[in-house]
Amino acid sequence: MASLPVVNHARNAAEFIGDEKEVRRHDRALWFMRANRDIAVQSLPKWELLREKASQIKSHCMSRLADYLEQFQDNATELGVRVHWARDASEHNEIVYGILSERNVRKVVKSKSMLTEECHLNPYLEEHGIEVIDTDLGERIVQLRNEPPSHIVMPAVHLGREQIGATFHEHLGSEAGASDPNYLTDVACRHLRDKFLGAEAGITGVNFAIADTGGIVVCTNEGNADLGTSLPKIHVACMGIEKLIPRLRDLSVFQRLLARSTTGQPITVYSSHFHGPVPGGELHVVLVDNGRSRILGSNDFRRSLHCIRCSACLNTCPVFRRSGGYSYGSTISGPIGSTLSPSRDAGQFRTLPFACSLCGSCSDVCPVKIDLHSQLLVWRREIALRRLLPLSKRLAMKLASFVLRHTWLYETVGKVLRWSSRTLPRWLIYNRLNVWGRQRELPPIPAQSFRDLYKGSHDRPKRDS
């Protein structure tokens, strides 16, 4: 199987940053989300306790995942739900297509599901003659532009209103040059209402699947998942196997964390609990593995499966805000994407764990307390062990380690480097190879190191060799 090209996050990010106005807008928009989240968090007592409970519930669930999956299947089946299992993305696509084609479905509406993005469901269905309309406004925008979503919750955050206006003018007949968000939203909703009315089936994701009742929960602000599943009689819900939680009661913890972490609002407008199909209709749940059972086996990365796709880590990440989702080259970007994607293909995504200044903010905002920045550090070790580091980095570290192991060598090299920096002309020091020197001044280089200053001095601090 041909391997995909290596994603070069640094190069992609540099390109994104080239548009100064856009990167500033992108950064401000996402920081706004983070700031709203902070307001909600500071006003809710016991927020940290909630995070702790959520983390423990997920850990428990993962430790007994097979049992809970079976329990879910049993209970869901009793309610009249058809439960399907897919080993990987292509099996998932085949199953979904199979359900639709057996029922002669040609028109489908779909609400936001990162799982279906991961499996590239849309192109598969379209190749097989099925029209798929993404009904989340952000998703519809990028669908019309033939682009992938750039953020797991706000798919069109990388676009300004003028660009969206132009897209709607081209595809939906809105006025040329119109860019008012209210007007554009209205145009899109009218267009999508027709799609809801004409749809023969609705595909949704799953925010939470409940083992002890066999129900599934879908959360939206727009109501698109609900329109898409209350008008057509066929509902296909696609979920990663990690979306399970043990009990209906456990939802209280997650429902209090999810929307606050995403946008700061206390709950999404709609949190729909589906226990069985609509009368006279069908509800299919497709359980997808696609590498999750493998991640489950890793002590280091297992906790990344706790993710509830809130996007708090994306919004807080200073690197994501300034590089945009496309720089990551993966379905899910940001800190969580940077630990999930290398699990899929460490070679292709080897730069993602390095697209990080290790600030640790992501781990602090994660509602389920995934140790995100620690996992990225572990990935760096993995990437080094698998010999995927660039040769220059490997050699530099070997050399540095050797020097630093021997005090006399460290002192000598230090002296030499300082001497040459103080002696060589500026044009030689600030050469093309000096990456630091491109945008930053080097620090002023002292003639003596600290240890030089105190060598032999008897009254400041005592020398211990």
């Binding site: 807008r25 706004f32 989300m33 809710l44 007592p45 016991k46 306790l49 409970k53 423990q56 850990s59 428990h60 993962m62 097979a66 999956l69 209970n75 009793e78 309610l79 009249g80 299992w85 897919a86 080993r87 009904t135 406004l137 952000g138 925008i141 706000m154 968000p181 939203t185 209205d186 209402r193 809801f196 009315l197 727009e222 698109n224 609900d226 329109l227 209350s230 196997i241 009990r247 009661r249 939802l251 209280s252 913890v253 946008t263 609002q265 206390p266 709950i267 407008v269 709609y270 729909s272 609990h273 226990h275 069985g276 199909p277 609509v278 359980l287 593995d289 059972s293 489950l296 086996g297």
Partner: protein
């Protein structure tokens, strides 16, 4: 081997150490005046909350809502509330509900912390009525107001044992927390009220359901 068995095997092969399920106790937030908090939370998400003594009072107040005056197609499933001219039970195809301007539906409980109302499809022939109408009015017993989501799910889980999902006879059902009118911020994060679902939400907390 079936996909199911292969996946379950792949999971079980790890022999993960058991981790305890935590209790859900936490001394979670309660309010001195839950009704006030509910109204405040609902208003913060651009919904509105009114108190009423009984259904006749609700009916009287509904008549005064500006969106009610503008509504032609009104579907109310609560007898005596709203001049209903769309009979939900007489409709076979939920697509025919597309022209409903205003719907009046009962809610089972209300949550103070976030202004959400829990609505089930019990007695509701087409759940689509909750999402397809332009304006939505929910009527909730004032006594069914809880402080937070933990209390809410306790009630729902209990109800699930008895009527929503009786243990003895599993019956499919639908329930949704609705908190405010539909909205989207997908265009430059500017909040636009009114997306696919209703563009207004009015909640009446009624003291007596007579």
């Amino acid at each position: 081997m079936t996909a199911q068995n292969e996946i379950l095997d792949a999971i079980r092969r790890h022999h993960l150490q058991a981790v305890d399920l935590p209790t859900l106790d936490g001394g979670w937030i309660t309010y001195d005046d839950p009704h006030k908090q509910f109204a405040k939370a609902l208003e913060a998400v651009k919904g509105r909350c009114f108190r009423a003594n009984d259904l006749a009072d609700v009916n009287g107040q509904i008549e005064k809502l500006p969106e009610y005056a503008d509504s032609q197609q009104i579907c109310s499933v609560i007898p005596g509330v709203g001049r209903s001219n769309v009979d939900l039970n007489a409709i076979d195809d939920p697509h025919d509900l597309d022209n409903v301007d205003l719907a009046v539906v009962p809610g089972q409980l209300a949550v103070a912390e976030n202004g959400a109302v829990w609505v089930t499809d019990a007695g509701l022939k087409h759940r689509a009525i909750l999402f397809v109408s332009r304006q939505l009015v929910l009527v909730v017993p004032a006594g069914e107001l809880v402080n937070n989501m933990h209390e809410a799910y306790e009630r729902i889980a209990d109800a699930a044992q008895s009527s929503f999902l009786p243990v003895s006879e599993r019956r499919p059902g639908f329930g949704v927390f609705i908190s405010g009118p539909s909205k989207t911020g997908d265009i430059e994060q500017i909040m636009v009220i009114g997306a696919h679902g209703p563009r207004s939400l009015t909640v009446f907390l009624v003291d007596s359901l007579k």
